[in-house]
């Protein structure tokens, strides 16, 4: 006898071809009924033989399409209606939404083959996609995920496309961004200085390729924003890009062509990737992966000055495949933005604001609803870890170890900002936004907060922000009208780590970064915190020193070196400026707040070694020190002093060794890393002696430094500690929004 079941499937089931899959499956099992999107989940009404329905429900998960990630289906008996056939119904909006907006997908192998097939009507079409690939997050206006609710609403389907869209056996059945040369988006190439405007896919592409061959810098519209492209082998082109973008040192990513194995050939020419790195590069995520560069590559030396690594990326969109393939050589592909801002997404704005940077522009007319920068990964402490969440990896959905009591919005940190939205035991973390000190960042921040609430149908009832009094995110919180919870920066770092690993008992977390507002009004940045989310106690720190000139000290490591030397009662003969006025400011404490920052201590060391007296981008000094560090087992045992319940590491004995010019800089850098790793171990042992806690975490931007992170982790493990590092989220401030959520969800009685 035929019966009926109502089935609900949650998880990643929208925008991944799940409903057509359900349809085909239903027919296979001879079921009648329907399927529809319902908010963020899929609802199925199935009528048929009970045994067939059982097998169908099982297959929903076991045979799901590659991009789908369904959770086990929930079902209940339903009224038998005697349906005829199995249909896809129009989406039912206006119901409660479980969290899910899919990230943007790379172009799948099937579409890629079709794009390369001269017989196909989508031969070399830059916007080819199917249910298994193409843009999502950057395209969606609102859920449910249907074409009229996307940036494709203004592209009516042509007859051929409509046929594919409606044919259940077609791999484009209900592919929302589906398009072809007749009805879809189109390229336009513009070179304003030469009064050139070339519409049309092929002419625009060849215009762009030709401009690149002439050494020009071209701003190219991709999935989540514009890139600036230029020839990666030309010092002249890369130098021009650096000069115009006023970005003298920050490493630039390189896009390499992909033709079956040829992509891997290029990879082998430019870098020495591990199998893990190669797999991640080629994975559907298509992130930028930072890998060891080959000594003999013909890439311009200006791409990553002073570093032995390089950020590589394979094409992810059909357009990038065409560009990289036609050019046939590596291209610099860096985000088209002004320093610290989110990547630009609007053609007119790019032409206006990057007029002084780009010579030419490759636009298209598919709007980008919100920016998504490229994701960045790097291997550290045994696995690939994200540096930046972006296209492909975000919005990142995670389970919370402890549910939030009310829907909660977390505003993150001001730099490397991300925001997070949580309801019940689910949280979604936004892509990287940038530095909120720039007006465009704040605009996107506000836009995203608005849209995330809409996309997920969640109205936040409270806001969590950093405790820093001058953060722009904190100012926004004060005016948003919701109750505001403030979380200390380093508590958020520690809680973010706990959110990923859910330890049973207390954990000792080393949160080492630049600076964050500490509970005592000083700037923390080299802290050891003991406890659990909602109950952290600061048990360790570094000897404080002054930041002469406040924020200026972050851009000018020599200020940190001066202050560190003076703290130790030493003079620094290598100081590049007349030290007298700085000494005066230091003595009188004029705009020279105390900090326990490990990041600034690395900056000081970089200046003392002469590796970086100034830095044009955050982390530059630390990256160069890391690149320099040789392999010596040598370390100094730094004194650990007990002060007001804190184990303070006194780093001053390092200074004479760092200044000792008779030792190679590589040795001195290695000594610094090894000594600080030993200091981590010494603190951990001291705390374990008192608390018995044997679980240690390493987090904060300073642990992006692989030499330090791996060395400290190794020492701790050898000494019997269990060690955890962030893996799903970056170790840097991108994780702060998530940590704020975790911290707030647990907020209860403090250990203190």
């Amino acid at each position: 006898m035929r019966t009926a079941q109502r089935v609900e499937v949650r998880g990643r089931v929208q925008g991944v071809g799940f409903r057509p899959f359900v349809c085909r499956l239903a027919r296979e099992f001879d079921l009648d009924g329907w399927v529809r999107n319902r908010g963020g989940s899929v609802e199925i009404h199935a009528e048929g033989e009970p045994a067939a329905i059982e097998r169908f429900i099982e297959a929903l998960v076991s045979r799901a399409p590659p991009l789908a990630d369904p959770q086990p289906a929930v079902r209940r008996p339903a009224e038998f209606r005697g349906c005829a056939g199995f249909d896809i119904l129009h989406s039912d909006s206006g119901t409660e939404t479980p969290i899910h907006v899919p990230p943007d997908h790379f172009v799948c192998p099937d579409c890629l083959d079709e794009m390369r097939d001269p017989a196909s009507r989508r031969y070399r079409y830059p916007f080819i996609n199917c249910t298994q690939c193409g843009p999502r997050y950057t395209l969606i206006d609102r859920l449910p995920y249907d074409r009229p609710n996307t940036a494709m609403a203004d592209f009516p389907l042509c007859e051929d496309c409509r046929r594919e869209y409606e044919d259940i056996h077609d791999r484009r059945y209900h592919a929302q961004p589906l398009a072809c040369p007749r009805c879809g988006p189109v390229l336009e190439f513009r070179e304003p200085s030469a009064c050139v405007a070339i519409p049309g896919n092929e002419p625009a592409l060849s215009g762009c390729i030709e401009a690149l061959r002439r050494g020009r810098i071209v701003a190219v519209k991709g999935i989540g924003g514009y890139h600036l492209l230029c020839d990666a082998r030309s010092d002249a082109a890369v130098g021009r890009l650096r000069e115009r973008k006023r970005r003298p040192d920050k490493p630039l990513a390189v896009l390499i062509p992909w033709f079956e194995d040829e992509g891997l050939d290029w990879l082998a020419c430019l870098a020495e990737p591990s199998p893990e790195e190669r797999d991640l590069l080629a994975s559907p995520l298509r992130p930028i992966v930072i890998v060891k560069r080959s000594a003999d590559s013909d890439l311009s030396g200006l791409i990553a000055p002073g570093l032995d690594e390089i950020g590589l990326m394979f094409p992810y969109s059909p357009l990038h495949h065409l560009l990289a393939g036609d050019y046939g050589a590596p291209l610099v592909a860096t985000s088209a933005n002004l320093s610290g801002e989110p990547v630009l997404t609007d053609g007119a704005e790019v032409e206006r604001r990057l007029a002084h940077v780009a010579d030419a522009f490759l636009h298209h007319d598919r709007p980008i609803r919100r920016p998504a920068d490229d994701s960045v990964y790097r291997r550290s402490a045994g696995t690939m870890r994200p540096f930046r969440l972006g296209r492909g990896s975000a919005p990142l959905e995670l389970a919370l170890p402890h549910p939030v009591s009310v829907p909660t919005l977390a505003l993150g940190a001001d730099l490397k900002n991300t925001v997070a939205l949580a309801v019940e035991d689910r949280v979604v973390v936004s892509p990287h936004l940038g530095n909120l000190g720039a007006p465009r960042s704040l605009d996107v921040f506000e836009q995203l907060i608005r849209e995330l609430s809409g996309l997920y149908g969640i109205e936040p009832k409270r806001v969590v922000c950093d405790a820093h009094p001058d953060y722009f995110s904190g100012r926004w919180a004060r005016t948003c009208g919701l109750p505001v919870h403030r979380v200390l920066h380093h508590h958020a770092h520690a809680s973010a780590l706990c959110g990923e690993f859910t330890p049973d008992g207390p954990i000792l977390v080393f949160a080492w970064d630049g600076t964050g507002f500490g509970g005592d009004g000083t700037l923390w940045g080299g802290e050891a915190l003991l406890g659990r989310p909602g109950g952290w106690r600061r048990v360790g720190s570094l000897r404080p020193f002054r930041l002469i000139g406040g924020e200026k000290a972050s851009a000018e490591p020599w200020r940190c070196a001066l202050a560190a030397c003076w703290e130790a009662g030493l003079a620094w003969s290598g100081c590049p400026v007349d030290a007298a006025p700085f000494r005066h400011a230091w003595e009188r404490g004029i705009n020279s707040p105390y900090t326990t920052s490990a990041g600034r201590l690395f900056d000081a060391a970089a200046a003392l070694l002469g590796v970086a007296l100034d830095q044009s981008h955050e982390g530059q000094a630390g990256m160069r020190l890391e690149a320099l560090a040789g392999d010596t087992g040598d370390f100094l045992e730094l004194p650990l002093r007990r002060e007001n319940g804190l184990y303070r590491v006194d780093w001053t004995p390092l200074l004479p060794a760092l200044m000792n010019g008779s030792r190679p800089a590589a040795d001195r850098s290695a000594l610094l890393h090894a000594s600080l790793a030993q200091a981590v171990l010494a603190q951990a042992r001291a705390v374990r002696g008192e608390s018995g806690v044997n679980l240690a975490g390493l987090t904060g931007g300073v642990f992006q430094n692989r030499v330090l992170a791996e060395h400290a982790a190794r020492l701790l493990r050898t000494d019997g500690f269990e060690v955890v590092l962030p893996a799903s989220l970056p170790v840097n401030d991108a994780a702060i929004s998530y940590g704020q959520i975790v911290e707030t969800a647990h907020a209860g009685p403090s250990i203190q």
């Binding site: 006023r246 001058d470 100012r475 920066h489 630049g514 600076t515 924020e551 004029i590």
Partner: protein
């Protein structure tokens, strides 16, 4: 108490404590001077009051005495009034060197003569040693505003231009260097002076909307006041905001932003874009050679954007207290 530098906390204290307790109609805490409810014929009486503390009492380019006169005179001037009378309260700390007091009072008298105002009333108290920074002064000023002068942020529209009458931050930098006993930057002097010659020129333009003297908190804080009240975006142009090289280099060394340093002899004015160039020209011709069109009012959220000389954009925050580094 961290309520000293004109940021948000100070505004809250003024709004929530003083405005609350004095909450009668005549007292407008946002205006530099208030109308005196007396018959002045066709003109209006304006009144303002201010207290003055500075360390050191004497600094290059001025002292607390001249500051107490100029500060109050300038508040009347930017309100469009002609200052007439002052009242004066003096709080002297036991043990103050009488020579110093002499110099300060003399300097105050000179400033009164220069500005054409008379002290009509006054009072002096002595406070115990350790209870005052040498001398505190409080002045109340009364002036006459001609009929028909309508200045205020209610007249400001998107598109209007911002004029700055001269280099900014001199006073803040000079006083700070003197207080912190920096033996350097000898040529740097406070800009403390009467702004009457400036406001007289600007008042000649019908397109003048608003004037303010950017004292505590500097140009950035005035810009925030404008943004908050008009609910518009204030865009300042780094390349057009005059800053003396000495001030710039002090800021460079100490990590300060010159746009937050106090001025005591400058005017920030908002004018109709149509007269901006002409008004700037008149100021320059009147001896204010570095007067500049340094920004504009734009439709947009209430915020202050600094367009940097490198072409980027930076938000200028409203200062809470002394700034702490945000970099992580």
């Amino acid at each position: 108490l961290a309520h000293g530098n004109g940021g948000r906390l100070m505004r809250e204290i003024i709004e929530e404590i003083f405005a609350f307790h004095f909450g009668q109609e005549d007292l407008d805490t946002t205006a530099d001077a208030a109308r005196l409810p007396l018959d002045a014929g066709v003109a209006e009486w304006m009144i303002t009051t201010d207290g003055f503390t500075v360390e050191p009492l004497e600094f290059p380019g001025g002292d607390v005495g001249s500051l107490a006169v100029h500060g109050t005179v300038n508040d009347l001037a930017v309100s469009g009034a002609v200052p007439r009378f002052l009242s004066l309260n003096v709080f002297i700390e036991e043990g103050l060197d009488i020579e110093v007091l002499q110099r300060i009072v003399a300097s105050m008298a000179r400033a009164c003569t220069d500005c054409g105002v008379r002290v009509l009333a006054g009072d002096t108290k002595v406070v115990r040693r350790g209870q005052g920074g040498g001398v505190y002064l409080a002045t109340t000023g009364i002036g006459q505003r001609p009929a028909g002068v309508d200045l205020g942020l209610h007249r400001v529209r998107p598109g209007d231009r911002i004029i700055v009458s001269g280099p900014v931050g001199d006073h803040g930098a000079a006083v700070m260097l003197a207080r912190e006993q920096f033996g350097l930057f000898g040529s740097l002097r406070s800009d403390a002076q009467s702004v009457l010659p400036i406001t007289e020129i600007l008042l000649g333009f019908a397109g003048l909307r608003f004037m303010r003297d950017p004292t505590r908190g500097g140009v950035a804080t005035v810009a925030h006041e404008i943004a908050r009240t008009t609910r518009a975006t204030v865009r300042l142009l780094e390349t057009d905001l005059p800053v003396r090289p000495e001030v710039r280099s002090v800021c460079e060394i100490l990590g300060y932003d010159p746009y937050y340093l106090a001025c005591e002899g400058r005017v920030v004015a908002i004018v109709d874009a149509a007269v901006a160039a002409e008004a700037r020209g008149a100021l320059r011709a009147g001896g204010f050679t570095e007067a500049s069109i340094a920004g504009a009012i734009e439709a947009g959220p209430a915020r202050v954007i600094l367009q940097t000389s490198l072409g980027g954009e930076r938000l200028l925050p409203e200062l809470e207290d002394d700034p702490l580094p945000r970099i992580c």
